[in-house]
């Protein structure tokens, strides 16, 4: 959800800066092989549609999910010249490292799940189970490797869409916001900075 918000924020910022030229700025983003991102999502879709179940039941979906990261990395490599993508890749790598360190799923603790699912108890979140409709596995904090990179951040109610996310997600969100500002904005900002330095 924070990433959907990042796209909206990115577009609004672009609108504030470019006014009537926002759409031209978006059209001018020199994204290469963007279809790789669409294909990566298609590979992840089965896991994202899988309900809560023991991880053995989502083995095939998990393999597709891990394969999709190859496409994401290929997309990132093709677009490595873009500042927004460089920030985004740092986020993807943070997430990928913790996913690989924890058996191929993003760990989330029962405590975080209780935070974003008010009214539930810790006992309702069995450890080692795939958290439905997500890429997560429920693990205790002690059993989680690289815990700091896992889904430890939460926006609980009264926010209408309670959500948990990782530090990597925050980087990805920033990357998308920067990307949506367009290359010309970034170049203008860097020119302004260099003028300030020389004055």
């Amino acid at each position: 959800m924070i990433l959907a918000a990042a796209i909206v924020v990115g577009l609004l910022l672009s609108l504030a800066y470019h006014r009537g030229r926002t759409l031209n700025q978006v059209a001018a983003i020199p994204l290469r092989s963007a279809w790789l991102a669409l294909l990566a999502l298609a590979l992840q879709w089965p896991l994202l549609r899988a309900p809560m179940a023991p991880i053995q039941r989502v083995g095939v979906q998990q393999v597709l999910f891990l394969l999709s990261h190859l496409l994401l990395l290929a997309f990132a490599w093709r677009n490595r010249q873009l500042v927004g993508i460089q920030i985004l890749v740092a986020g993807v790598l943070c997430n990928l490292v913790v996913i690989l360190a924890n058996g191929g799923f993003m760990p989330i603790s029962p405590e975080t799940l209780v935070q974003i699912n008010p009214g539930t108890t810790l006992a309702e979140w069995p450890l080692g189970v795939h958290y439905g409709y997500s890429k997560d596995i429920i693990l205790s904090q002690e059993a989680t490797r690289l815990w700091v990179l896992s889904d430890i951040l939460a926006v609980p109610p009264p926010f209408p869409w309670p959500v948990a996310f990782s530090l990597g997600d925050v980087l990805i969100a920033v990357g998308i916001i920067v990307l949506l500002q367009g290359q010309s904005t970034l170049q203008a900002v860097s020119v302004m900075k260099s003028r300030v330095v020389f004055q």
Binding site: M1, Y133, S134, K135, D169
Partner: protein, 56 residues
């Protein structure tokens, strides 16, 4: 049908198609690269649950 052709002729420009492609790719990128759930973050069960689950 004629109205559709008219709209396509008016808005189906190369630039607009490019914008659609880029925004769709960024949405896919956001959903695919976020660690937990699709929209970025594992969703909870309150609020508009079905909407959030759909986003994931």
């Amino acid at each position: 049908m004629e109205k559709l052709y008219h709209l396509w002729g008016r808005y189906g420009t190369k630039r607009n198609m490019r914008i659609l492609y880029i925004v769709a790719s960024l949405v896919a990128l956001a959903v695919a690269s976020a660690a937990p759930g699709g929209g970025g973050g594992a969703s909870g069960g309150t609020g508009i649950e079905s909407f959030v689950k759909f986003m994931h």
